[in-house]
Every structure is written in structure tokens, then in C-alpha cells.
């Protein structure tokens, strides 16, 4: 690897991680601002631990993300199957087009449009409205993750299964779903990422009673810096890092197992 390539990698990773690490370092500051490190202390973690409002919001955010991703994965998978199964070209294109609309729409538009819709439906702004909006913007990505797996799937597989006497439900649960499972999981994780990362849509459709982490941080940040938020970010960063390492170790293990199996077969 050339020096210039190493340099660029180092530069980019520095760029990506410097702000996050900066947040993490100052979470241990005994002072009250993100400047002039006064000394090491856990005080902001203690504050965080006692801030039941913030903890409740974190919990809300996680529940929202998990629920919306699960619902989005279910509907998205059905959507992908619908698009895949449809033979009429025009209908197929229309479905795909409508699916992509929300994917390419700016957050603000989704937020505004859903605000109008929820008001028109007479729904009180809160958890339900936020949940519906999150499901809505997560579904397209699930469809886009599952659809290619369906298209890659060997058509003969389904034919063979029904030839061997499998009923359509069995074909679905024993052949189709297992084959497209990687796409479904990928879709679920993307939905989770979208939901956790969202700010704008939630900001539009949430009411007084319900808040997510992003909205809370936004309102707090406008009042000034609070290192409690740093402590929270650090914990989340740590969790994310553990998840990544775990996932990587797991995927390495499975691929190496697959590789050895393949080698054995070749032999």
C-alpha cells in the first residue's frame, strides 16, 4: 500500500472520529464545558444516572427504533414480495416508484407531509404519530434490501419445492424466507439505523408528551452545552463499538467456517 493511500486513510479516520472522541474525552471533564479540561471525574455520568427524564427519553428512543423497525421489516418484506410477484409491468414500476418516493424525499418534506396527514386524521401528536412516520420512512429501505435477494433467488428453487409437494405457505416459510433472510436482516438494521439517526421527521410530528433523544439534544443544545450529553454519547459510542466488533468477529467466524466447508467439499 502506497504512503499516500495510508495517509488518506489516516486523515479520513481522524476526520470521522475526532469529533466523537472529543465528545467522549470531555464527558470525563470535572469542569462544566467542552473546553479547558479541568480534571478527570465521573460526575457527569452520575448526573446522567440521576436524570430520569433523559433516561426515559433514551428508553423511548430505543423502544421506538425497535418497534418501528420490526413493523417496517414486516411490511417491507411483504412489499418486496408484492413487487417481485407482480407481473404487470406498469403496476410493478408504479409500486417501485411509490416505494422510492419517501426514500429520496428530504426529511423536512416527510415531516411536514406527515404533520398534515396526522392532523387531518385527528391524531394527537405523540408516540403513535412518531411511530407511524418512522415506519413510513423505514419501509422503502427494507424493500430495497429484500428485493435484490428475491431477484437473485433461483426461481427453480420455488418450482422444485412445489414440485416436491410443498404448499404455498410451506414454500414461503421453508424456501423463500430462509433464502432472503440476509436481505431481511440487512433491511431491519438499516431501518434501525434510520430510526436512531432521525431528527427532522420526529421533530415535526412529535407533541409535548413524547420526545426522542435527538429532539431533546436539539432543545438542550440551544440552551448551551451540558456534559451529561457527552456522557450519554460516550456510552452509546461504546455500545456501538462493541456491537461492531461482535458483529465482525461473528461474520469472520461464519465465513471462515464456510470456507473450510468449501475446501472440504473440493477435496
Amino acid at each position: 500500500m502506497k504512503i499516500i493511500e495510508r495517509f488518506w486513510l489516516a486523515f479520513c479516520f481522524f476526520l470521522l472520529y475526532a469529533p466523537i472522541l472529543f465528545l467522549a474525552v470531555y464527558s470525563f471533564n470535572s469542569g462544566d464545558a467542552m473546553q479547558g479540561f479541568a480534571g478527570f471525574s465521573w460526575v457527569h455520568y452520575q448526573e446522567l444516572w440521576q436524570d430520569t427524564r433523559l433516561l426515559q427519553i433514551v428508553l423511548n428512543t430505543l423502544i421506538l427504533a425497535l418497534t418501528s423497525s420490526l413493523i417496517a421489516t414486516a411490511i417491507g418484506t411483504i412489499g418486496a414480495l408484492a413487487i417481485y410477484r407482480t407481473e404487470r409491468r406498469l403496476l410493478k414500476q408504479t409500486l417501485l416508484g411509490l416505494n422510492n418516493v419517501l426514500l429520496v424525499s428530504p426529511d423536512v418534506i416527510i415531516g411536514a407531509a406527515f404533520l398534515i396527514l396526522m392532523t387531518a386524521l385527528g391524531l394527537k401528536l405523540g408516540f403513535l404519530t412518531v411511530l407511524l412516520a418512522h415506519v413510513a420512512f423505514s419501509i422503502p429501505i427494507v424493500v430495497l434490501m429484500v428485493l435484490p435477494k428475491l431477484q437473485e433467488m433461483n426461481r427453480d428453487l420455488v418450482l422444485a419445492a412445489s414440485d416436491l409437494g410443498a404448499k404455498p405457505t410451506e414454500v414461503l416459510t421453508k424456501v423463500t424466507l430462509p433464502v432472503i433472510a440476509p436481505g431481511i436482516f440487512a433491511g431491519f438494521f438499516m431501518a434501525l439505523t434510520y430510526s436512531l439517526d432521525d431528527f427532522a421527521v420526529t421533530f415535526f410530528v412529535t407533541g409535548n408528551g413524547f420526545s426522542t433523544l435527538a429532539v431533546e439534544v436539539y432543545s438542550r443544545a440551544r440552551q448551551g452545552v451540558s456534559l451529561e450529553i457527552n456522557a450519554l454519547s460516550t456510552i452509546m459510542l461504546g455500545l456501538a463499538f462493541v456491537l461492531v466488533l461482535g458483529y465482525y468477529a461473528y461474520s469472520q467466524k461464519t465465513t471462515s467456517r464456510k470456507a473450510t466447508k468449501l475446501k472440504e467439499k473440493v477435496k
Partner: protein, 275 residues
């Protein structure tokens, strides 16, 4: 047998179709109606006339597009070489995960980090002072806005480019070298054109959200850069003029559709038609 299969397909279509009608078609239609429903005037194009004859709004539109363009160019300039380097690494999957990891930290938290970094007595200013220069106004500048927006969008640009680069048959660059092309010529004539689908996806996923950023404009840009997104947010949540907000929304959707049309592969379209 076939009829059960058909019933299944119909059931899928029913569930998904209903969802699309209720939560894709309906909200967008309502947005359009709202934009035409001017308070006190009934249905009229008054909002659109106001928008396109108002100097400030037109300037804001141009501004939004210009900044979205800059953010996209900066992100692409950093991401393309990064994606290229990543594909050459041994444990590239792991490094790619490290590029994606920051997206799991909510963007508000990352923005918040920049407030600390760029603040009046922030780390960057202290470094500048340590080097003997005077304290600079960093936060609430256009530069800060571009930096933070590019930072947040970076992984979304790297990912599709990386995937497109990995899809290139490694023998093609080898063939190019074999035929006498230097590594730079190979990059220009083979790798870059073949990674174009990834670049286009990346440009779309960065340019479109950049058109309507409103939180960063406020927290980092200090409302110096006012984008269409900021305007929509103000109309909906501050001045409560939903009608005009919706009008800007519709204009934004049109701008977005134009972007998509411009970046979609023309060749691909032709091929599809032939099929």
C-alpha cells in the same frame, strides 16, 4: 395450486398497496392540496406566484442548491479516494464498519460535538491561538456549516461508492494495465466510469438531504445560511403558515425530482426499454 399462489400475491399487493396509499400517496397529496389552499382565498396558485416573484425566496432556493452542491462535491472529493483505499485493505469489511459506525451516533450528538470543537473557546480556536493567531469566529460561519454537513453525510457517500468499486471485476484494471495504461489512466478510463452507478447513488443520497438541512443551519450555521428546509420548518412550526410551507415543500420535491432525473443513468434506461 396456481390460484392459491395468486391469492398470496393479491394479499401481498393488498397490504402493501394500502400502506402506500395511506402513508405515501395521501400525505404527499395533502401537502399539494395544502399548498394550493391559501387561507382566506380558497384554492389558488397565489402561494406559487408569491414564491416565484419573491426575491428572498428565489435567493434562498439558489442558496440551497449551491450549498447542497458544495456539500456534495466536498463529500465526494473525500469519499472517493477513501472508498478506493478501503477496497485495497486486507480487513476491509472491518474498516468499512468503522466508517459506518458514526452513523449510529445520532446526528444531533455529532453536531453537538462540533459546537464544542468550533466554539469561541473551543479546541480548534485554542489551537489557532497557540499557533500565534488571533481567535477566529468559527461557529456560525458558512465554512462551519459546510464542514459539519459534509462530516455527517460522509458515510452515506462512501458506502455506495465502496460497493460499486468492489463490484468491478479485478481483472479489468489488470487488463487495462496489461494494455499499457498507467495506474492513473486505469483509474480515469476504467475504474471511475465503472464505479459511476455508486457515485450517482452517493450523490443522490447526499445532495437531496443537503437541500433541506435545517437543524445544522441553525445550530452551526447560526441561521446565516437559510435553506429551503429552514424555511419549511419555520412556516410549519414557528409561524404556523402551513400553506406557504407546503408550497416550498412542493418546490423542493420538484427540485429533487430534477436531481434524480439528471443523475439517473440514461444508458440503463435505454437498455430497459429494449427489454
Amino acid at each position: 395450486m396456481n390460484s392459491t399462489k395468486k391469492r398470496f400475491t393479491e394479499a401481498y399487493l393488498g397490504v402493501y398497496g394500502l400502506w402506500l396509499l395511506a402513508f405515501v400517496v395521501a400525505p404527499l397529496l395533502l401537502l399539494l392540496i395544502q399548498s394550493l389552499n391559501v387561507p382566506g382565498q380558497g384554492l389558488s396558485l397565489a402561494n406559487y406566484r408569491d414564491f416565484f416573484t419573491s426575491g428572498p425566496y428565489l435567493a434562498m432556493t439558489v442558496n440551497s442548491i449551491w450549498y447542497a452542491f458544495l456539500i456534495t462535491v466536498i463529500t465526494l472529493g473525500i469519499s472517493y479516494p477513501l472508498a478506493l483505499c478501503l477496497t485495497k485493505l486486507k480487513h476491509r469489511q472491518f474498516w468499512l464498519l468503522l466508517v459506518i459506525l458514526p452513523t449510529w451516533i445520532n446526528l444531533l450528538l455529532k453536531t453537538y460535538a462540533f459546537i464544542g470543537l468550533l466554539g469561541k473557546d473551543g479546541l480548534l480556536n485554542q489551537s489557532i491561538e497557540a499557533m500565534g493567531f488571533g481567535s477566529q469566529q468559527l461557529l456560525f460561519t458558512n465554512g462551519a456549516f459546510l464542514l459539519v454537513a459534509a462530516y455527517i453525510e460522509l458515510p452515506f457517500m462512501v458506502l455506495p461508492i465502496y460497493n460499486a468499486l468492489l463490484d468491478i471485476d479485478p481483472l479489468l484494471p489488470a487488463a487495462s494495465r496489461d494494455l499499457g495504461a498507467s495506474s492513473f489512466q486505469t483509474l480515469k478510463k476504467i475504474i471511475w466510469p465503472l464505479s459511476m452507478p455508486g457515485v450517482k447513488t452517493g450523490v443522490q443520497t447526499v445532495f437531496i438531504p443537503s437541500l433541506s438541512l435545517f437543524m445544522i443551519t441553525r445550530l452551526i450555521g447560526g441561521n446565516k445560511v437559510i435553506t429551503l428546509g429552514t424555511a419549511i420548518e419555520e412556516h410549519f412550526l414557528v409561524t404556523q403558515n402551513w400553506s406557504f410551507g407546503s408550497t416550498i415543500g412542493v418546490v423542493l420535491i420538484i427540485a429533487m425530482a430534477l436531481t434524480m432525473a439528471l443523475t439517473t443513468d440514461r444508458k440503463k434506461k435505454k437498455r430497459r426499454q429494449r427489454k
